[in-house]
Amino acid sequence: MVKDQEFLKSKASYCLDLAKKMGATDASVTVGHSISETVNFRNKSLEASDRSDGLALSIETYLGKRRSSISSSNLLYENLKTLIEKCFETTKITPEDEFNSLPDKNLLAKQISSLNLYDETRFENDKKIKYLKDLEESASSNNQIINTESSFTENKSNFILANSDGFCDGYKTSSFTASCVTVAKDENSMERDYEFSSKRHLSDIKQATDLGNKAAKQTIRKLSPKKIGSEKISIIFDKRISKGMLSAFASAISASAIARGTSFLKDKIDEQVFANSINVIDKPDIIKGMGSQNFDSEGVNSNTLQLIEDGILKNYLVDTYNGKKLNLKSNGRSGGTTNLYFEKGNISYKDLMKKNSRSLYITETIGHGSNIVTGDYSVGATGFLVEDGEFKYPVNEITIAGNFKDMFKNIILANDLEFEYSVNSPTMMIEGMTVAGK
């Protein structure tokens, strides 16, 4: 069983009391416990089981404007005492930083509403095995599939965040994740693809057979790919790739990148950065949401933020430290976005596919080709050539490149938004990007 609130609170208050006793002017502590159990399958039989049970604690101690931190997984009182002593000794010799402080008291979360993020259902390993058997049975039904690997993970976590201004709260969360990777082979090639489902509640996980079928179908259609020539072409991003554009956008508007001056979106508040049909929202209070939270990692209340309104940048993601640097109040985004999404567009998926007589549909990218300082983007890609709205043939060993500044202004979104993950996007088209191939 995951440790209860009382246990975590007793550890947290021990640390806070001790830090205060040693002379710390302020302190904050996070204590968490997490248990997770995974079963792995390969080619329809059990391959591995994995159980993890981990406690984690981190403390920050302040002496005026001096601050340092420690973290440990060893919560024995003896060890905590040694660590807090070490932490405070380090604090004393760390230089002052005028922006170091606990969050403003009046911004701290006061009322915690239930977001239904915890499902206490226990999914025994035998049941996981049954689920994975069904999944791999359907994934391997086509004889072009030569290898299947799948896993089911159940996680239960609990945490307490406490600081010397009296904040002390936390809550349990759970997650259930089923995933499947399949390999298909024909006389010309071997290809891999995947599908997964991750939810707060067990009952919301996709059917095993649906997951297996989908993974297999997505893999088989990639067989015998061709390389295309280098050209400018309209690119359609599958949902699993288009959401990555939001993640790149989020890192470019983090207060830390803005304060350091290392973002291509610095000083762009109230300016047009996306096409004017685009709205981007970060909503922390979605019931059962994978990214939902009652407060951020500093205890600051987080409300829904409209980041982009009609293409115009409205907000950065602000934490206490970088907020003070930028003269902005924290908006509860220490630790990043919560449930981030593009509002859906007004063209159907079908019409988007037909919008150009010829386009490139991307289902996977590889490489770390996003530079948020310059906005330059260049990644390896796999996908399909689309003609007259239909997949013609699979394409690989190409790269796609552009600059976010131009790409963001040329985004067209379909109306097929679904809330599956913590970052969600409809299918996306960007015109005028460069493909490098033959």
Partner: protein, 470 residues
């Protein structure tokens, strides 16, 4: 060396007994105990931004029978906790019986010293160097707008207890020093990053002015990029510089030669053993035995001494990299490549220091032979799709080559290629093999482990460059 048995009610005798009882009817497995201490100190935006110390302690208990691996970890080292794990392993493997393999090779060689780099130097001395880095770079040139510098140090002590009571230990130091600088000129911003590291003390960088070289290099890369033009798009010849660009070898070839992917037949290389996979003159080894290198290990995380494993010899595929589990299932021996990020993770076959050995041509000859192509000197990260064999990496310093001459610097572009065929496109191998500066971390299945790479300059006849200029 950590003593794991003075921390709670668990004695060594208890541990031996539980391990032997649990693994009795299994093919392999061990109790892995780990204590790590680490620090990271970061200077950013003119200030010491953070100083963090972390200590971690825990065990991972593994039992293997046939193809099934059962694993359980906890950060509570106690009799109860170990018994819980034991029950968990037994319940997974209840119906599968094996025969324990007691054999494990021995070696007295050590490739680094038992030191704790964190405690060897005061925090104050490290803070001073970081501040000097900041002052040095900001005074150097008016275009310097941001400086980030960091020290990271770690000492990891491990003990492996096998069935029958055999115990193997290792103490592993690791340091890293990194400088990143952002320049701004005529409204353009570019960054340059350089770092060093290894299984050693901080001494070299604290005592002397060696930190200055790291600053100069980061500054130089950023300055080059300020002048960069859009990169070309399409297939062309590529000359790779020596040292760090060997991450091409790591991504394109290395991952595909790890035992697990080949046992499962999901690697593009699984049916190519003994065949020609590279041009003549291309020899690639994976070596865990180089003193003080980031990817070196005295023993791997299963207790096997590491070695220099020849992967490709003169173009012919010779060996895969193996941990005990995959080696047993493929009827071969472990190459000392079983690694894990920490006690929270299972062992996988991984790379150590992956190196292409020198040939006899010069970088000049390569550049002169190219009419139109690029010269890539440094890279950011890379990635590979093991199954299709396609891999990418991102240039952080590269130049055009026109008519045998190096031209303008070009913007960061992704290069993409096909693992099984790329080494057949190598038409010249340089005589200038160089080790990387000690900065690599390899990710696989969610686990990061420190690795090294090395290579001479090489000429690749055909690769796709992912620029924007058609």
């Amino acid at each position: 060396m950590s003593n794991f048995f003075n921390k709670s009610d668990l004695t060594r005798q208890d541990a031996d007994k539980i391990v032997s009882e649990t693994l009795n009817n299994c093919d392999d497995g061990e109790l892995y105990l780990e204590e790590s201490k680490s620090e990271s100190i970061l200077l950013d935006d003119n200030k010491i931004k953070s100083s963090n110390y972390s200590s971690d302690l825990g065990f991972g208990f593994r039992a293997i029978s046939n193809e099934v691996v059962a694993y359980s970890y906890s950060n509570e080292i106690s009799k109860d906790s170990l018994k819980n794990s034991s029950e968990n392993l037994r319940s997974t493997l209840k119906s599968i019986k094996g025969t324990y393999n007691y054999e494990i090779p021995k070696s007295n060689k050590k490739f680094y010293e038992d030191i704790n780099p964190i405690e060897q130097k005061t925090l104050d001395s490290k803070l001073k160097v970081l501040n000097k880095v900041n002052d040095f770079l900001r005074k150097k040139d008016g275009s310097v707008k941001q400086v980030t510098a960091s020290f990271a140090g770690e000492q990891k002590s491990i003990e492996i207890i096998r069935s029958g009571g055999e115990a193997l230990t290792d103490v592993r130091p690791l340091i890293r020093f990194n400088v990143s600088v952002m320049l701004e000129k005529n409204g353009r911003k570019e960054t340059g990053v350089y770092g060093i590291g290894g299984r050693q003390s901080y001494d070299d960088y604290l005592k002397n002015d060696n930190w200055k070289n790291v600053c100069e290099e980061a500054f130089r890369i950023a300055s080059v990029n300020l002048e960069s033009k859009p990169a070309p798009a399409g297939e062309m010849k590529v000359v790779l510089g020596p040292g760090w660009p060997a991450i091409l070898i790591h991504e394109a070839i290395g991952h595909g030669l790890e035992g697990d992917f080949n046992r499962k037949k999901t690697s593009a290389f699984h049916d190519l053993m003994g065949e020609k996979v590279a041009s003549e003159g291309v020899t690639i080894v994976d070596d865990g035995t180089i003193d003080n290198r980031r990817g070196s290990l005295t023993i791997d995380d299963e207790g096997t001494p590491t070695e220099r494993t020849v992967l490709i010899e003169n173009g012919i595929l010779k060996n895969f990299m193996q941990d005990r589990h995959n080696a047993r299932l493929m009827n071969t021996r472990s190459t000392g490549s079983g690694r894990r990020e920490n006690y929270r993770h299972i062992v996988l076959p991984r790379m150590r220091n992956t190196m292409m050995l020198s040939g006899n041509q010069t970088q000049d000859e390569m550049i002169k032979s190219v009419d139109k192509g690029i010269f890539a000197v440094s890279f950011g990260g890379g990635q590979v799709d093991i199954t299709s064999g396609k891999f990418v990496f991102n240039c952080t310093e590269a130049y055009e080559i026109n008519n045998g001459k190096i031209g303008s610097p070009i913007k960061g572009a992704t290069l993409i290629g096909d693992g099984p065929s790329i080494l057949k496109e190598v038409s010249m191998v340089g005589n200038d093999m160089m080790l990387d500066p000690g900065i690599g971390t390899c990710g696989k299945a969610g686990q990061g482990v420190p690795v090294g790479v090395a290579q001479p300059s090489i000429l690749i006849d055909k690769m796709t460059v992912g620029g924007t200029k058609l």
